[in-house]
Symmetry: C2
Subunit: 443 residues, 2 copies
């Protein structure tokens, strides 16, 4: 996006600090909007997206033209170009996803606990919005309605910064979105687009007006943001996921799960990067599994024991391979001596994202599920299930492999916090130092 | 604490990185300890504290001697000296608090949600330990058993760094503590003491082995730690709490609540710093309230309207006063024009800690509780109730005024996270792209 284009469309906020200040002010109003009003605005937004699908596709065509030039110059990958494309079908999908958010239960005002501290003194822990959430992402314009709908459903104002390659599409989506909000009495400042990289850097210091920052992008991008931000950051660095084939595995299941985990969508963070096989079944399992993987185009890198069993087509794995998130059709393979060895390898090299065991031995499976320290621990299922939609969360704003606040696919819960409401009748703490006793009775 | 003393007692880990590595290894074992075993270790530790009360008090006497020299030299406050002191009664209190943690329900293995994604594919969101928690604190040696018991109850290994002024007391408490753990088959590395300031600085980079850092101390200390840490930090910066006397307040209640909020323990973060009074009742309320506050030794700083009503003994308040956490017997006073004005002031100057309204108008109270963005929002109760024990959480590891993970007094919940356990029967994601549909049925 050129500077000229920014100025031409520049009737939005002039800088990140001002945008954040407006977002904070608006968040006070959103916090007391009814669920009905939030849903009505979302339904209208979904409708408007469908009605203006032609304009969206036309704006996207402008971005695509610029992107194709970049691809020809070798400055953008074909994969990135593909993620940028918005068709009539994509717009219909966007609208449907917004409607699926409407159908989710209201995440606000839920009583998480109620306790009578004493007669006439009742403490209620109640869910409420975070306030202002910022999301920085690349390429895929469908992030705009998806994240904006989750934010609004959870009563938050949102600041969005997309990649410049999608500038026209994102601007069009946002103008449709905010017009629909305003028609429902919700201020347009509830969803604002940031327009420059400088805005992102400025954003990182706005801890007074922004409550949460979600960077969606590569490992280095997320790490840089995390290190420099004064705002709390949730996001995933890496997905180094393992499929562990236990000695008591059904080898047919193991093969299907392994192939799905690696091949279904290798660029995803929940794709498998390493296969661990028990020595007891390796000789039986590996030749056939490796043949199938190779037929699917997977390049293999194995430990010495693997290579001793499967002579052809397996390169030697180095220490770097065990810690690699390939993100493409490459798989490292290691023969391990049982469950403890597998868990030890996973803790040493894994990224606490999603880890799977394949076995018919339920005791071994339960040990794996209890002992492996990761956001997702799976028994006889593909690592690719780690996803907000598949988990039934409706959608996700991201996948966290930190342990605080939200872990794994992060849906509406990750966009809320809680407050303690204490309703009394004149109580003082001094009373409880001179005789009065607390009841602490859960209600 | 002198270097000599460190070396003499130095059979512990030599540096923070090694301590953290051992804590991580031990945390894997703690995560699968039964609740029974964790409670048994805590009960034994409580018993041992009582049995060795003489040794604890003697170790404390050594710290007190050194501290008294510092006080005489003007290098330590009397208040800090008082917080350092451990009596026989304090040891009995420590043991009783450990037992109260034993009585809390097990925070681990709770099923937070169970969903059938499809036939034979069940997703369980289950609470589990964070892993390794570090707490940096000052003076009060009773923090050692309190925090260590919460950490163990929640299945975490803990790293503790106390102030050098309490070194002998803390060492004694820790040696009693870890001996009791070991008697119950729990590795001593589950609770380790860090011994130098350099350890704290080293700790901040150990994000691979430490999951959460809780700094307990002054605002600047917490801010410095937060800014430099690569480990997630939870802690409170400030407590700028308000008592708002609404026009429909019972003025007797208002007076009692105000006095308790300010005078009960002014150094606490949940003490009130500012009184907001509706103009409609200010002339009636202020003279008497201010008289009582002054009788309790409170220095007053008022806005112009306040000073116009109460001529004597109220200094003019400056802009700095509205944003001040006095932590002592000083109160700023402002006359406001109703609820909206009060809320606006609280959002502008407050620290989102604890905010109270006094009123008999329940609609106004509900508006205040819903609209004020703070960890605690109170109707007709003293701000001093913001405390883990009073909330019925058993105890607290700290009070957070961030909004992520834990907000307000942080008990066992703040020391746990969750994992998603997915139990399947060979499912792949590809199946759901070619016909199979998710059920997403909550169980």
């Amino acid at each position: 996006m050129t500077a000229g284009a920014t100025e031409a469309r520049g009737n939005g906020p002039v800088n990140a600090a001002e945008a954040a200040r407006r977002a904070r002010a608006t968040s006070r109003k959103l916090a007391v909007c009814s669920g009905k009003q939030r849903n009505a605005a979302l339904l209208l937004a979904a409708e408007r997206l469908e009605e203006t699908e032609g304009q969206i596709v036309a704006a996207n065509a402008e971005d695509l033209r610029a992107a194709e030039t970049l691809v020809r110059a070798g400055k953008m990958s074909q994969a990135m170009l593909a993620r940028l494309r918005v068709s009539e079908k994509s717009v219909a999908d966007m609208a449907e996803k917004v409607r699926s958010v409407v159908r989710l239960p209201d995440p606000l005002g839920r009583k998480l606990s109620v306790m009578e501290l004493d007669e006439g003194l009742v403490l209620t822990k109640e869910s409420c919005p975070l306030g202002v959430v910022a999301v920085v992402f690349e390429s895929r314009p469908d992030v705009v309605p998806q994240v904006a709908s989750l934010a609004l459903k959870a009563g938050n104002a949102i600041l969005l910064k997309g990649g410049s390659e999608a500038a026209h599409t994102n601007e069009m989506l946002m103008s449709i979105w905010t017009a629909a909000l305003e028609e429902n009495g919700i201020p347009a400042d509830a969803a604002q687009l940031l327009r420059s990289r400088a805005d992102v850097m400025e954003l990182l210091n706005l801890d007074r007006d922004v409550d949460l920052l979600i960077p969606r992008g590569g490992k280095e991008f997320v790490e840089t943001i995390s290190r420099q931000s004064r705002i709390p950051v949730l996001g995933h660095g890496q997905g180094i996921c393992h499929v562990y084939v236990h000695r008591a595995a059904d080898l047919g299941k193991a093969e299907r799960i392994l192939l799905d985990s690696k091949v279904d969508y290798p660029a995803a963070c929940n794709a498998a990067e390493t296969l661990l096989v028990d020595a007891a079944v390796a000789r039986q399992f590996l030749p056939r599994a490796i043949e199938k993987l190779r037929a699917a185009g997977v390049e293999l890198r194995g430990c010495d024991r693997t290579r001793a069993m499967v002579s052809a087509g397996v390169d030697p794995a180095s220490e770097r391979d065990w810690a690699a998130e390939y993100g493409e059709l490459i798989l490292s393979v290691k023969v391990v001596d049982g469950l403890d060895d597998a868990i030890q390898h996973i803790h040493q090299y894994g990224s606490s994202h999603t880890e799977a065991i394949v076995t018919e031995d339920s005791a071994a499976a339960e040990r794996f599920l209890n002992e492996v320290d990761a956001a997702g621990v799976y028994h006889n299922a593909s690592t690719r299930f780690a996803d907000g939609y598949r988990y039934g969360l409706g959608a996700e704003v991201g996948i966290s492999n930190g342990k605080l606040h939200a872990r794994g696919p992060m849906g509406l819960d990750g966009l809320t916090t809680y407050k303690y409401k204490l309703r009394g009748s004149g109580q003082t703490v001094a009373d409880y130092k001179t005789g009065k006793k607390f009841r602490h009775r859960p209600i």
